[in-house]
């Protein structure tokens, strides 16, 4: 049986080597080269001169925007997601699975479609005002607030699920033990439930932080070009008339370093693989 499974794993292994490892190495290689669409393959050399783009104010701002929004989104998602997960966990509702399905339901439709719909709702003439005559969110598109709402709206489920899993794993007897030892329900939460669910919060935070950091679609649609994120810079490098592969690769490598740092954090906290949910 093991042999069969091993054989079945081979296609993915090959896939992994060809389409993940080799491109990844290529990306790192290109980041330290002079390669762009005007350079012929036989003219490629090691070149670090373009590394100066890391210090161009436009790119520094883009990095700052990405990091600031990623951190804000993560914090907001952590707070909202924790309360939602805790509420589901505490509820006496019989089929909690259904509530969780509702939580991830938006993920069943295309991301761009959802963000574009949000963009409509946030615009001056939106669907809500044309139906009801007024709209509470009208005319915020193009602002940082719109981007933030879009990011939180999109990535909140990634926080709720791991936190909920962590909460569900807490042995109910521990809660009884806390009460038995003289804790009020409020103290029980802070001294037992919260510390034991922290792992889920860390896992969720990384799962929200990563895509927010590297993403470019949401800031582009909801930011109306007012906010440049590092993802947008990379996109522009690859869409210009001369395609700057080396610039794009370099910026991507920087993001990769961020991601690797996060994964290191993840492996320290997530020993039971909640991320695989």
């Amino acid at each position: 049986m093991n042999k069969v499974f091993k054989a079945l794993a081979v296609p993915y292994q090959i896939w992994l080597y060809i389409l993940v490892f080799i491109p990844l190495l290529a990306m790192v290689g290109i980041a330290i080269s002079n390669y762009d669409s005007s350079v012929l393959l036989n003219q490629i050399n090691v070149d670090l001169s373009h590394w100066s783009i890391l210090f161009q104010s436009q790119n520094v701002i883009a990095f700052r925007n990405s990091v600031v929004f990623a951190v804000l989104t993560t914090i907001i998602c952590a707070v909202l997601g924790y309360f939602t997960a805790y509420y589901i966990f505490q509820s006496k509702f019989k089929n909690k699975f259904i509530i969780l399905t509702i939580v991830i339901l938006p993920m069943w439709s295309n991301l761009i479609l959802r963000v574009d719909a949000l963009n409509n709702v946030f615009s001056k003439n939106n669907i809500i005002s044309s139906i009801f005559g007024f709209s509470p969110f009208g005319n915020i598109t193009g602002t940082g607030l719109a981007i933030l709402i879009g990011l939180v709206f999109t990535y909140l489920p990634f926080m709720i699920l791991p936190v909920y899993t962590a909460l569900e794993k807490i042995d109910y007897a521990l809660q009884e033990a806390a009460l038995d030892l003289g804790l009020t329900p409020f103290k029980k939460f802070w001294k037992v439930i919260f510390p034991l669910s922290l792992k889920g919060v860390v896992t969720g935070s990384i799962m929200v932080f990563l895509p927010t950091l590297a993403g470019f679609a949401i800031p582009k649609i909801l930011g109306k070009g007012n906010f440049l994120f590092i993802g947008n810079v990379i996109e522009n490098k690859l869409l210009s008339s001369t395609i700057f592969y080396n610039h794009g690769s370099l910026l991507a490598v920087v993001i990769l370093v961020f991601i690797l740092g996060s994964i290191l954090l993840l492996t320290r906290f997530d020993k039971e693989g909640e991320t695989l949910l």
Binding site: A173, D180, L181, G182, L183, T184, P195
Partner: protein, 382 residues
């Protein structure tokens, strides 16, 4: 000896989804007693314990502790602590963190009362000098020190000194059990509830812990309420045993009286191996069974009434055939170390007999019983 009632359960009833788990239970537990609730799973013993602990509210009836009705009091307000079945130790804290957990989360008022003003003042003067103002932060330090000392003492009590900094998953099941015990005992409860705390331990460790628990209970003067389905465990430790079935108390008494004088077949079967033989109460001090009249004592039934005779396997005496009241054939023999277990066939009735001598299968042996070893119960309609 006049004993003071500590816990009274009065007509306590609890049902889940229409199924009665504890049925009109009345039970009085006295100070410094070791009481065991004994019965198979589903007999309501754990539910009874959880009602005393405050985790479950009874549907009807009263739970009175120290003369006060405790029905609606939450667990944290009761002078009761529990050792849980699978210990329920906090995995995010180390051993001493677990033991100190209860006290560390109490307020100053409680702690002042707990440690006593004198001891707190002494420690304070020791740490900060006599005339310092008792600020909250300084008191915090005083209490931290007292709590740490109390936790260390509790660990010493359960023989776990030196394990303070260990993580919970770095100690064995037996040690976890001791930590759970220390965590409850450090709070000096009036009543300690133990929910099958030994079930997960291996036989040797379990037996050792039985003696230790009993010793601790005598030393600390705490009332222990112990739940188990293991009759041997109950026998070893208890002052009194409550045998339960289907939410009803079957029998309440000392281990000896329950073992020797079970009130019905259920109790007799549950408490160890026994022979239950149909018989007739002929007249005062005479009972007829296995075709012979036996002398008996201490029981009163109507003359001629049918009774169930209970004789423990070890109460049969094997004697020479000519002196025997009953004669039978050995059909099975098993060496158990200290004694031999025999199955003896007496005119089609199978008796279990324990004896120190060895007998071969097929051998004829004679049996007799002393009058005081013969116990009788009313015949139940089944």
């Amino acid at each position: 000896m006049h004993k003071k009632p500590l816990i009274e359960l009065i007509n306590v009833t609890k049902s889940y989804d229409g199924e009665t788990v504890v049925d009109n239970l009345n039970l009085t537990i006295y100070e410094n007693e070791f009481v065991t609730l004994l019965g198979p799973s589903g007999c309501g013993k754990t539910t009874t314990l959880r009602m005393i602990g405050g985790f479950v509210q009874p549907d009807e009836g009263k739970i009175v502790i120290n003369g006060k009705v405790f029905n609606d009091l939450p667990p944290y307000a009761r002078p009761i602590h529990t050792v849980f079945q699978r210990y329920a130790l906090f995995p995010h804290l180390n051993v001493i963190g677990n033991v100190a957990f209860g006290l560390a989360n109490r307020n100053h008022e409680y702690l002042l009362k707990f440690f006593g003003e004198e001891k707190v003042n002494l420690t304070f003067n020791d740490m900060f000098g006599k005339d310092q103002k008792k600020s909250a932060s300084k008191l915090n330090k005083v209490f931290d020190k007292l709590i740490e000392q109390a936790a260390k003492d509790a660990l010493a009590l359960v023989k776990l000194s030196g394990y303070e900094k260990r993580k919970i998953d770095q100690i064995s099941g037996g040690q976890q059990q001791r930590v759970a015990l220390a965590r409850a005992l450090v709070n000096k409860p009036q009543i300690l509830l133990l929910d099958e705390p030994l079930a997960a331990l291996d036989l040797k460790l379990r037996q050792a812990m039985q003696y230790e628990l009993k010793e601790m209970q005598l030393k600390l003067g705490i009332t222990f309420i112990f739940v188990t389905h293991d009759q041997e465990e109950a026998m070893t430790m208890s002052d009194r045993i409550v045998v339960m079935k289907d939410g009803l108390i079957q029998q309440l008494g000392t281990p000896k009286s329950i073992y020797n004088e079970p009130v019905n077949r259920y109790v007799a079967n549950f408490i160890g191996e026994t022979n239950i033989i149909p018989g007739t109460y002929v007249k005062k001090d005479v009972v007829h069974f296995l075709g012979t009249d036996f002398k008996c004592m201490g029981y009163t039934f109507n003359d001629g009434e049918a009774v169930d005779v209970v004789i423990r396997p070890e109460d049969f005496d094997v004697v020479d055939l000519e002196k025997a009241k009953i004669k039978g054939t050995v059909t099975f023999s098993l060496f158990k170390g200290v004694h031999n277990e025999l199955d003896v066939d007496v005119n089609g009735v199978k008796l279990m007999v324990n004896t120190y001598e060895t007998y071969e299968v097929g051998e004829s042996i004679g049996l007799t019983v002393d009058p005081y070893e013969i116990h009788m119960m009313k015949v139940e309609d089944v």
